[in-house]
């Protein structure tokens, strides 16, 4: 069996699954189904990363997106309910504007993609990635620190936002009496 042919067949199968999944994200009425379609797309993306020999990216994709973000979505849907969406497919006007905008964006990007000449090459493992991020002469050290600060700040912000307004404590109520 020709391995190139096999590779292409695998890619096109994967790509069609991912496209159907991403169409499912925006077409399902119930957010739970959308979240599960998103999970399909995320796992497909991980497989695409693996086929690009970006093995650590594939791993991080499964753990971060598949393991954390999708579960976060499902928890959110579980907590506040799916919510009835006034779907009404909106007006034809909105649809045509949306389609026009997306097709325009596609046409804008299409020439760039068509003229690209890309070569196959060697891959980078987790060792090269670690060297690129963590060693002293790396360009990414500052970005790494800033990302750490961003994650901490976002955690604090999420807690503050989710707490909402503070209820008056029992002690305070008793004092008022």
């Amino acid at each position: 069996m020709d391995s190139e042919l096999l590779r292409q067949g695998a890619f096109f199968t994967l790509a069609s699954i991912m496209l159907v999944g991403s169409a499912g994200v925006i077409c399902f009425r119930r957010p739970v189904y959308s979240a599960l379609s998103l999970l399909i797309v995320i796992l497909g993306t991980a497989a695409i990363f693996a086929s690009l020999d970006a093995h650590f990216l594939a791993l991080a994709q499964v753990m971060l997106y598949g393991g954390a973000i999708t579960v976060l979505f499902l928890f959110l849907i579980m907590l506040i309910g799916a919510g009835k969406e006034r779907f009404n497919i909106m007006s034809l006007f909105y649809w045509s504007v949306a389609l026009l905008l997306t097709i325009g964006l596609g046409l804008m990007l299409m020439p760039d993609i068509a003229t690209l000449k890309l070569d196959e090459g060697t891959s980078f493992g987790i060792k090269e990635l670690g060297n690129a991020i963590f060693t002293a002469k790396s360009n990414w050290l500052f970005v790494l620190e800033v990302t750490g600060a961003l994650l901490t700040a976002s955690m604090v912000a999420a807690v503050v936002l989710a707490l909402g307004k503070k209820e008056p404590t029992i002690k305070y109520v008793e004092e008022k009496k």
Binding site: F12, A15, M18, L19, S22, V25, I26, P31, S34, V41, I42, T45, I48, L52, D53, A54, F56, L57, A60, L64, Y65, A68, I69, F73, I80, G83, E85, R86, F87, Y94, W95, A98, L101, T102, I103, L105, G106, I113, A114, L116, L118, E120, G121, S123, F124, L129, A132, I133, N139, W140, V143, T147, L150, S154, M155, A157, A158, L161, A162, G164
Partner: protein
């Protein structure tokens, strides 16, 4: 390699289309994640094509920022739901009145 980029483009367009016409804020957020994923695929493809490890590092940072964004975004959705009792983005019209 160009088929990978085409897949990334189509995924991004589907995400953008969904962001433009859906109303449920949770689904809007999923569309954003879809677009981030599509962009990540493109970054990984370029990293592979130009044999530059920096592309993969950039994709990793995109993932980290997406995680932070998911945490804040979902908290915002909860706050929005608490104040409006709905998940419809057209109910977020406080500034218009």
């Amino acid at each position: 390699m160009q088929v990978y980029l085409a897949l990334s483009l189509v995924m991004f367009l589907i995400g953008a289309l969904g962001f433009l016409f859906r109303k449920n804020v949770v689904v809007l957020f999923m569309c954003v994640e879809l677009m981030l994923n599509a962009a990540n695929i493109a970054i990984a493809v370029f990293s592979r094509a130009y044999l530059d490890v920096d592309g993969q590092v950039a994709a990793l940072f995109v993932m980290a920022v997406a995680a932070a964004e998911a945490a804040i975004g979902l908290a915002v959705i909860i706050a929005f739901f608490r104040s409006t009792k709905s998940l419809d983005s057209s109910d977020a019209a406080l500034m218009r009145r």
